[in-house]
Amino acid sequence: MGANRVAVIGCGQTKYTAIRGDVSMPGLIREAAYRALDDAGLTMDDIDAVVIGKAPDFFEGMMMPETYLAEALGAVGKPLFRVHTAGSVGGSTAIVAASHVEAGVHERVLTIGWQQQSVSEAMWALSFPIPFQQQLVAGAGGYFAPFIREYMRRSGAPDDIGILVALKDRVNALKNPYAHLHEPEISYDSIKESFMLWEPIRYSETCPSSDGAFAMVLGSEKAAEQAQAATGVRPAWIIGTSMKSEPATANGRDQITPQAGKDCAADVYRQAGITNPLEQIDMVEMYVPFSWYEPMWLENLGFAAEGEGWKLTEKGTTQMDGQLPVNCSGGVLSTNPIGASGMIRFGEAAMQVRGQAGDHQVDGVNTALGHAYGGAAQFFAMWVVSAEKP
């Protein structure tokens, strides 16, 4: 992080659901934005700039919506612009917003990620047979399934680790009123018996398609102190941010544990002064759209040695009451408005630090990691938030 301190001083989100048919896209976004402003004890007049992020335009057929959201976001007369990095966009957007405060350009920046999956079919929107381009005709799950198979082969993990992840995340979702999927009857057996979509990924080990938005207000040190005095809620200080990219296909590229992910984690840990992530990080909101990505990212993020991540899952380390709770909100496996999913990870990490997570709050969270990835596991965005001012 740079010269000026930055903190999350407000969080707001919509109830995630398959179809939010009652609102327009601007109405959906605004709902989250104004909840974040309320949480910060602010109004739109207090905001200096708005930074938004969403998934590819083709997911919704809404081209460049930033060009007509100014009035809905109360951004008339203020800078308003959009960030885009595929599925990691929610994380990248928050980091770009933070950089404006960090640089001393703005005092308070509103940042929002969203998606209406219900207005189209995101699964296939990237699978057009565009001439001479690499094609993803399998959909996202079909694309990632072979890498999961390779992870299982390399690590020798028992074949039910994915079921354990899905069960944990869906049970956690029951404690989060905003989560899309609330499945009180979920069980190990019901997941195991759900139909196989792309072997080894079962239906119940796959993220849903959701509508929704998440927003945050990021503020300078002065803004954070004012917000805390007004609301009584402590800020979540951003003590490290990092984004890394790599090509989808390259000689020697390891798609199971991408170098860009390792580099991104190393960068954000260095900024945050973290040398032993398992000991020093109290909880993680991790981008896990398919169950097996939990053990895979546990390794990529340095919480376990290569080939060992599944053991943390199996031992219960990543449960709400474990040493390293992962995805207490229910995660992407329970809620996936793609353009918002990265920001939900970042925002839920901040909510845990702020003590705002309600029934899915982990006691005594001082330091939390928000993680997002996108594209062919090639774009990474992470931040570390802390209760302690850096």
Binding site: V23, S24, M25, P26, G61, E71, F128, P131
Partner: protein, 149 residues
């Protein structure tokens, strides 16, 4: 040289739908019923077609008001030549029409056969489509209302 490079056609067809929300949805529902709705902004002026949030203050707007089906041309352009995909057989005018009771103008077409028949300040009225479906094309076009304003 470039003739030797590979090329291939791509036709994209993909389904999308929209949620309109309470304001824009009401506007289209109104068109289906043969009436035009605007919305009162924070400054009391009427925006038509209506917007959900005040263009200046960003405040949510809720006060829908019915405006007239006749209005005034505020500026216009001329389309002299028939081309595929146009909403009317050419010639016709493209015009900004401010409906009576509204304070903003909307872009639409005016069915007149020569530039002699249209000028800024002219009065025009809606010609409704035979079957209305809740789309902007429920207004088939505008036509002269007869007599200058």
């Amino acid at each position: 040289m470039t003739d030797d490079l590979l090329h291939a056609p791509l036709t994209i067809e993909f389904g999308f739908n929209r949620t309109t929300g309470p304001v824009v949805g009401a506007f289209y529902t109104g068109l289906r019923e043969g009436k035009v709705l605007g919305i009162k902004g924070a400054d009391g002026r009427v925006v038509c077609p209506p917007v959900e949030y005040d263009p200046t203050t960003g405040a949510p707007l809720t006060e829908m008001v019915e405006v007239g089906t006749e209005g005034t041309v505020t500026t216009w352009s001329w389309v002299p030549t028939d081309r595929e995909g146009q909403v009317l057989p050419a010639p016709y005018a493209l015009a900004l029409v401010q409906l009576d009771g509204a304070d903003t103008a909307m872009l639409h077409v005016v069915d007149v056969s020569s530039t002699d028949q249209i000028s800024t300040g002219d009065r025009v009225k809606i010609r409704w489509a035979d079957e209305r479906q809740g789309l902007l094309t429920d207004i088939a076009c505008f036509e002269p209302a007869g007599g200058a304003a």
